[in-house]
């Protein structure tokens, strides 16, 4: 048999080398035992499930490195997430179709510690893959989500919008007197929930008053926006919904249908760092109660909101 040409031998040697090295570098799908994920940050990922068995323990991989600030322990993480079952490929839930990013508290008490590993220390804008036994893929202390058997495995893809202090706000304390049909606003201390008072006649159209002009990135349609907000039915004191009463900032998609009536109109073109007072008449969106992502308000009631724009990110 004739000896192979030198070029062929070199090619064969490189192929063998690649076969040995690439899996170790994480370039070989089966060697890593993880699903293949396609798609851009901010869009619902396409996930191809492997045909081989899932790993016994949870595994995490940063698929796309973002360019934003690094998330830290103690922050709440605003993220999009897509959740599926490895064994069946069945899609469970996702925030992309809901057009409602979710807020996760990573203190080991709210969601599984596997979420900590996937989401802490990531740059905002990163896409992260998490594979986990179902008992450690969602809630803490080993409970599988509803309609998931305890022996299944979950595949989660996160798009990290950012990490935020639970009391993050666009601006500090201050008082803004009532004027021009707008109620007064008082923020007593850093991180305190704005309190609205001195309501006049009910609004007849959407009103927008910029309390603090932001100097950050502008808000654009279709992007994600992260805010603290509080909302009251016109003339009342107790908020019907408020991020201050929950975990901290929530993420939203800059689309009229993904937000409460009046919000999109009030936010478009504003900048990060803005504090905005919005008044909305009861007939602004007749019959509306909630968005697909369960962001809701009392039906056909006039309302007032204070929106603190904390961050924005393309999606």
């Amino acid at each position: 048999m004739a000896a192979p040409p030198r070029r062929a031998r070199r090619t064969a040697a490189l192929a063998v080398l690649a076969a040995l090295i690439l899996p170790a570098l994480g370039c070989g799908g089966k060697a890593e035992n993880i699903p293949q994920v396609k798609g851009e940050f901010g869009s619902r990922p396409e996930v191809a499930m492997p045909t081989y068995p899932p790993p016994k323990d949870a595994r995490m991989k940063v698929l796309v490195e973002g360019e934003g600030p690094v998330t830290r322990k103690g922050q709440v993480i605003v993220t999009d997430v897509d959740m599926r079952i490895w064994e069946s490929g069945r899609a469970l839930m996702d925030t992309y179709r809901l057009e409602q990013p979710t807020t996760a508290v990573l203190d080991g008490q709210h969601v599984s510690r596997t979420w900590d590993q996937a989401l802490i220390g990531r740059k905002a804008g990163s896409r992260v893959l998490l594979v986990s036994p179902a008992t450690h893929g969602f809630g803490p202390h080993g409970m599988a989500p509803a309609q998931v058997t305890p022996t299944d495995h979950m595949v989660l893809v996160f798009d990290v919008i950012g990490g935020y202090d639970p009391k993050a706000q666009a601006a500090g304390p201050g008082t803004w007197p009532a004027s021009g049909g707008f109620p007064s606003v008082n923020v007593k201390a850093p991180g305190a929930e704005p309190v609205m008072a001195d309501f006049g006649a009910e609004p007849r159209k959407v009103g927008v008053r910029t309390l603090v002009e932001g100097k950050g990135a502008p808000l654009k349609a279709g992007h994600s926006v992260v805010m603290q907000y509080t909302g009251v039915v016109w003339g009342t004191k107790t908020p019907f919904n408020s991020t201050y009463l929950r975990n901290g900032p929530n993420g939203f998609v800059m689309k009229d249908a993904a937000m409460l009536p009046g919000w999109f109109e009030a936010l478009e073109g504003k900048r990060v760092g803005s504090r905005i007072l919005v008044t909305v008449p009861g007939n602004e969106r007749p019959g509306f109660t909630h968005t697909k992502g369960a962001l809701g308000m009392p039906k056909d009631k006039p309302a007032a909101y204070v929106l603190d724009v904390v961050d924005t990110r393309p999606r």
Partner: protein
């Protein structure tokens, strides 16, 4: 409004609602979660006893400042965090652990007993029965929201995700020589989103009844829920498995748990809630010797081998039964 619908084979889990005097955040000093960290069963404690029971009323995760919390947890053997039972009155109790509103409940109870079973007649004490183990939980009215946001105009809560059930009850019962038996159900109820009733819960719950919310498959699911979820486990609380290693209901199992409602929710904040839970563990290798062939022994007369009602716990309400509760010796 859509109707409740069976979602298929994957429906699973959950539970816990209700009750009384003190709510207990479960930080079990003696807890030894089942191997692998699976604690769907409940809090498995280190004990040399051959039976164990656990029950709670509401377990919430991922909600504001509310940590993973089991409200009104009962356990056998008792722990510093979980007494043998809780029992509440008819008045509404405002559940606001950690300062955050969770909802309102009334006439709630949870019980966990080992080497005993409840009396069949209201007003009588519990009946010692070596090797038996029993747990139940329930309530007259439960209104839970994630988070709970009261409607200023009255009516359905404004919570992004809300559960309202009336007459909810679950029980788990394991006797020597017999497999574990479960009951679960509610008189009526509904799930709401931001003040809108999305799904009515029918009075009779099929086992592992599941639903996606909304039910319209052209829309993305906001939440997944399961009612009357019944899961069999081994004697350590791990789900029973089939030959392929996946969970499989074992009709011969002597241990397991039942959950009234379990919901996993996305939306603005990730959350997971279970309403009413009852769980038992019984080691048949040790306890089956206590089986009594014809059930005519004096302390067992009248106790059904399986619960008679699909929708009601088979025994007396806990307050009346509590008076006769006794510690019984271990079977070791």
């Amino acid at each position: 409004m859509a109707s409740w619908r069976i979602s298929g084979s994957r429906a699973l889990l959950t539970a816990g609602v209700a009750l009384t005097a003190v709510f207990t955040a479960t930080l079990p000093a003696q807890a030894a979660h089942a191997p692998g960290g699976v604690d769907d069963w409940g809090t498995v404690v280190d004990t040399k006893d051959c039976v164990q029971a656990d029950a709670w009323l509401v377990r919430v995760k991922g909600l504001g400042k509310i940590i993973d919390t089991k409200l009104f947890q009962s356990h056998y053997p008792t722990t510093p965090q979980a007494p043998k039972q809780h029992a509440g009155g008819r008045e509404l109790i405002n559940l606001a652990p950690m300062g955050i509103g969770l909802g309102k409940v009334s006439a709630l109870y949870s019980r966990a007993m080992g080497h005993a079973h409840p009396a069949t007649t209201s007003g009588k004490g519990d009946v010692p029965a070596r090797g038996e183990v029993y747990a139940d939980a329930g309530g007259a009215a439960v209104d839970i929201g994630l988070p709970y946001i009261q409607n200023p105009a009255g009516g359905t809560q404004l919570s992004p995700f809300g559960v309202h059930v009336e007459g909810i009850t679950v029980s788990a019962y394991s006797q020597p020589g017999k497999p574990v038996a479960f009951t679960g159900g509610a008189a009526r109820g509904y799930i709401s989103v931001a003040g809108t009733r999305i799904i009515d819960i029918p009075p009779i719950w099929a086992v592992n009844l599941g639903v996606r919310i909304p039910e319209d498959y052209t829309q993305a699911p906001l939440a997944l829920a399961t009612t009357n979820e019944q899961v069999t486990t081994d004697v350590k609380g791990n789900p029973t498995k089939g030959p392929n290693g996946a969970y499989k209901y074992d009709p011969k199992a002597t241990s397991g748990y039942v959950n009234g409602i379990h919901a996993s929710v996305l939306g603005t904040d990730v959350a997971d809630v279970t309403v009413v839970h009852a769980a038992v563990l019984r080691d048949p290798k040790i306890t089956d010797k206590f089986a009594v062939a014809p059930r005519a022994a004096s302390d067992r007369a009248g106790v059904p081998a399986r619960p008679l009602s699909k929708s009601c716990a088979p025994f007396a309400p806990p307050r009346t039964a509590a008076a006769g509760m006794k510690d019984t010796s271990s079977c070791w």
